[in-house]
Symmetry: C2
Subunit: 275 residues, 2 copies
Amino acid sequence: MTGVSANRLSLNTATVKQQWNLEQCIEGCARHGLGGIAPWRDVLQDLGVSKAAKKIKDAGLQVSGLCRGGWYTAEGALTQAVLDDNRRAVDEAAQIGADCLVMVVGGLAEGSKDIQGARAIVEDGLAQTLDYARSVGVKIAIEPLHPMYAADRACVNTLSQTLDICDRLGAGIGAAVDVYHVWWDPDIQEQIKRAGQDRLLAFHVCDWLLETKDLLTDRGMMGDGVIDIRGLRSDVEAEGFAGLVEVEIFSADNWWRRDADEVMQVIIERGASAC
Amino acid sequence: MTGVSANRLSLNTATVKQQWNLEQCIEGCARHGLGGIAPWRDVLQDLGVSKAAKKIKDAGLQVSGLCRGGWYTAEGALTQAVLDDNRRAVDEAAQIGADCLVMVVGGLAEGSKDIQGARAIVEDGLAQTLDYARSVGVKIAIEPLHPMYAADRACVNTLSQTLDICDRLGAGIGAAVDVYHVWWDPDIQEQIKRAGQDRLLAFHVCDWLLETKDLLTDRGMMGDGVIDIRGLRSDVEAEGFAGLVEVEIFSADNWWRRDADEVMQVIIERGASAC
C-alpha cells in the first residue's frame, strides 16, 4: 500500500490556525496542490460564508468537512439556542458543499457528573439536527473523541458508541474517524467494518506523541508518533471510504509556531511516507 | 447509599509517595483507622518484604493489592527476565497476603506501532504468570488503564478487553477497576455485571479533574472532579464486591506536596462524602 498523494490530502484549517486565515489557507492548499480543505466555523464566518464558498470553489478544492457542530450540552439542557446554532452549521456546510458536518458533541454539563445524562442530551440534539440536515442534504459525521475528552469536549468516545447512535437515528448520519481518537481501541477494526462505506464520512490524521505533554495541543505530525496510520487508512479504504485524508494537528509548541508553507511541505511528505 | 468509612478504605502508598516511606504508611494507616494498605513493590523492597509483611500484620491491616506486576512489553519481546520479575511479584504478593497482584501490563514496545502485537505479548505473559500465581494461591488483577496510557503504560484499556483476556485464560484472573481509568466508558455498567464477583478483585478511587494539566500526575481527590464514584461503587458492590476501597492519587502539584496526615484526614472525609 502506497502513501497518500497531495491531491488526496485535505487541510483542516486548525493545523495552521496561528499562521493563516481562511483565505490564506485556501490559497495555500491550491499552491501546494492539496485536494481539499476543512474549515472551522469561526474562520469561515470571519471570511464570510458566501465569499469563502466561492473562493474554495474557484481554487478547485473539495471540502472534506466543516468543523464543527455539536456541543449540545453547552447550556446544561438542550436549548433552542444550541439547536439553532447547529441548524446554522448545517446551512454553512451546505453552502460550502462540505462532504459532512463534523460533530464534536459536547462533554458533561457544567457542574455535572452525569455522563449518561449528557449522552442522552447529545442524542436528542443530534436527532433534531439530523432531521434538518436530511432536508438540505448535508451528512452529519459524529466524531468520537478520545476518552480523555469525555468530561469537557465530547461524551461520545468510541466508534462503537457512535454507531449505536447512528443505528438508532437512521440514514444520513455516520462517523468522522480520527486516528488520534481511536487508535488505542481494541475494537476499532471490527467497528470500522460495522460502519461500512455509508457511515465512514471522514478520515482525520495526525499522530500520538510519546511523550504527550498536553491533553489538547500536543498532537504530532504523521510519522512522529506511535499510530499505525497506514493500517487504519487501509481499514477504512477496505470498506470503500474514498474521501480525502484530512490533516488536523493541534500543536501549540511546534507546528503552530512554524512557517505555514513549511508545515504544508511536511504534511505532503508525510502524507506520502506515513499515511 | 452511604459513604465509605475509614475501616473500609485502603491507602495505596503512591498517594503519599513523596511524604512517607512504607513504614510510615503502615503506621499512618493504623493511626488513622484505615482498613488496609496497598504497597508498591519499590517501597516494599526498600523495607524488606518479610519485615513489611510482619508490620502490616501487626498493624491489623488488610492488603488490598500489591502494585504492580506486568510491563510485559518492556524488552520488546517477552523475555525470561520479565517473566522472572513477575514471578517475584507473585511471591511478594503471597508473602504480604495481598488480595491480588495488580497488573499494569505495559504499552507499545519501544519504537513499535504494533498495538496488536503488544497485546499478544501481554496475553502470553499474563498466561505464564497466572500459571505460577495459581500454584501459590495469588489472584491476578489486570488493571485496564485509561486509553491515554495505551502507548506508554498499558495496552489493555477497557474492562471489556480485560474480561475477554480473562475469559481466555480461565480461573484466578480478574480486574482491578479504577474509576479514573473507566469512568468514561459507555459500556462500563454492562462490563461490571459481566465481570461478576469472582473477577472484581480491586476497586480504586481518585477523581478526574477539570482541567487535567498532566496526563499522569494530575489526578484529583475524590469529590474534586467529575467522576460519579458512588455510582461506580454501587455497581461493583451490586455484583458482590466486598473488598476495600483503595485510594490511589498521583498528584505532583497538590496532594504530594501536603502534610501526609492532612492527606489522610481528607481521604477519610471524602471516603464518607464522595465515595
